[in-house]
Amino acid sequence: MTTETVQRQQEVTYLEAISQALDEEMTRDERVFLMGEDIGTYGGAFKITEGFMAKYGEWRVIDTPLAESGFVGAAIGAAMMGLRPVVEMQFADFISCAFDQITEVAAKNHYRWGAAVPMVIRAPFGGGVHGGPFHSECPEGWFFHSPGLKIVAPSTPYDAKGLLKAAIRDPNPVLYFEHKFLYRRIKAVLPSEDYIVPIGKADVKRAGNDISLITYGAMVHLALEAAELLAQEGIDLEVVDLRTLIPLDKDRVYESVRKTSKAILLHEDNKTGGIGAEIAALLAEDCFDHLDGPVLRIAPPDTPVPFSTPLEEYFRPKVSDIATAARKLAAY
């Protein structure tokens, strides 16, 4: 009983895990500092940096003017000088305003003239929160295609903390997509000692033999739910959580698909040109001989994220979509 209580107390949400990672990294390394809109006095739109300004001062927790291109550019400059900026987009959707700085400056500097740009952009993304077209976007697909960027998207508090620490310690620009829907909905007990989750390593969140269900972000939980359901029907899903989108852990993905011979790709980002397309293409090229059925993709249709509840529900992938796809593949 006592032990259980202690453990309960140690449980942290996905949001707190992010907050802890920032706090610990700022304490560990004085080069780490934060920039963004309303992250200081207010503690951020989602309160992830609450109390940080009091603790670290207004030059390490910088409330910026409303100018994403400007402050991402500034982060690039500070990073090149040797600091470790962590920039917050208030919502991932606004990253479009900084697109040019990210893709043309941050991504290409090292390749072009050898200047490392060790920075992190935190982007609260994804739907399911009644945010509508401009507060629910999944912008990762835009950046997936820009060499020079690393991209991570954790699905659990453990990964959220470990990947953020790894991102902060990485000498490259890292886009950190944190899922708003998960912020306060999932909890876990985290190790008390410092740890990282290495960038570039996928994680099998559920081992299985029949079909590889490859996904990331909030969809991992949907995948696990579907896997439980399908297990009752005798279909054994392996749920592969990519965790890192760039560089992609091809080995782990291939290993899974070579075992199961069947693959479903699941994401919340629009279908066309999403990350599922790349993985399907890799499988169709590199694992063709192992495939025992078509590679299926489950993703929202090619529309903006709609606001109204019945529309958004229709838009978002569902357990039943996975079940239908898995049954089809299993019968193949």
Partner: protein, 363 residues
């Protein structure tokens, strides 16, 4: 689908339904009084503006209440305490002019004929809202009514508004575009690019800053190193003016001057409407970062209070009249709510509709 609900079927100000089939929005009566305001604003116009101030307040207060009851999901951004700006400028425009509003410009929607029912349907994600549930809250627009849909990304619609004005100029039309953003929004590059282009091409556009002194929690001093946002205009060789944003008559008159200058080919003007955000950034924000004293001071300058003082002073209205208007807007809002609540939600597959246009009309 229920018919779009009529907002002003009553008698009080029936000519000013904000319906674009009527022209102009404001009546043609002569001013009734020799005093400053009365010289330049018609009595009926002032009364209409008062009506819209009240309607805006009543509607948004209802939205806030619905939000607190959990009946509205998603963000709620109101113009509480700042209603005079949209009401003032939208009243100064002609019906053919086009507005690319700021996110606290509910009054402009109402004046352009968006009914409380439509607005509430929008908030509730109903199919009868202007976006049919595709988008929420103030993210609505309708080209037929000369309203450009608001985009979350602040200042994005400023370049768009310069393009509206460019179309007027290319086609030789004597129409004006009106657009603006918050103090926060003026920090964005798109603000700069729009201001500059408007000035270079002397476009018929009026650009404003709704300066309510905070961008979310960020006070003006952390956003810019100038005291008056109007100083931004100097970078573009554009005339600028500071206006009391809580005085609907002042907003109206300054807007009118800028609009007429633009219409006459004199190019753009930048207006800084000084005001104060009296609620949180959105309704979930208690805004503890704003000194209470500041809010108390500004409460005394409430735009509705100010308008009533003016009306009393001019002998245009009294408490009974104000009460009557209050009752009227309350009824309109409640009728709107009924309409909105009875309206159907969209159905799932409607998600797939409308990504591409089948045709493009002229406006």
């Amino acid at each position: 689908m229920p018919a779009v609900q009529e907002q002003s079927a009553g008698t009080l100000l029936e000519r000013y339904a904000g319906n674009l089939t009527q022209t102009p929005l404001l009546c043609e009566e002569e001013p009734m009084d020799p005093a400053d305001v009365t010289r330049d604003i018609k009595r009926a116009d002032l009364l209409q503006m008062y009506y819209y101030l009240r309607l805006t307040r009543a509607l948004e207060d209802r939205v806030t209440a619905l939000y607190r009851q959990g009946r509205i999901v998603g963000g709620v951004y109101t113009s509480h305490g700042m209603e005079a700006i949209a009401v003032g400028y939208a009243s100064a425009l002609e019906r053919n002019d086009v507005i690319a509003p700021f996110h606290r410009d509910m009054g402009a929607f109402l004046i352009r004929g968006f009914t409380p029912g439509e607005v509430l349907a929008q908030y509730l994600g109903k199919r009868t809202g202007p976006t049919k549930g595709k988008d929420g809250n103030v993210h609505m627009g309708d080209l037929k009514r000369g309203m450009i849909g608001f985009v979350s990304h602040l200042a994005d619609n400023l370049p768009v508004a310069t393009g509206v004005a460019l179309a007027f100029k290319i086609r030789g039309e004597r129409r004006v575009a009106f657009t603006g953003t918050g103090d926060g929004g003026t920090s964005r590059g798109d603000f700069h690019e729009a201001m500059n282009f408007a000035a270079v091409r002397k476009l018929p556009v009026v650009l404003f800053c709704n300066n309510n002194q905070y961008a979310y929690s960020t006070p003006q001093r952390l956003q810019m190193a100038i005291h008056d946002v109007v100083d931004r205009a100097k970078a573009y060789g554009m005339p600028g003016e500071i206006v009391d944003g809580n005085d609907v008559a002042a907003v109206y008159l300054a807007s009118k001057r800028a609009i007429e200058l633009a219409r006459a080919g004199g190019g753009p003007t930048f207006l800084e409407f000084k005001t104060m955000r009296m609620h949180g950034h959105s309704e979930h924000d208690p805004a503890k970062y704003v000194p209470r004293k500041l809010l108390e001071e500004w409460k005394k300058k409430d735009p509705i209070l100010k308008a009533e003082q003016l009306l009393v002073q001019l002998g245009y209205g009294d408490d009974a009249y104000f009460h009557e208007v209050g009752e009227r807007v309350k009824k309109e809002v409640e009728a709107g709510l009924e309409f909105a609540e009875q309206s159907p939600l969209p159905e799932g597959p409607e998600v797939l509709e409308g990504v591409f246009a089948e045709k493009a009309d002229s406006y």
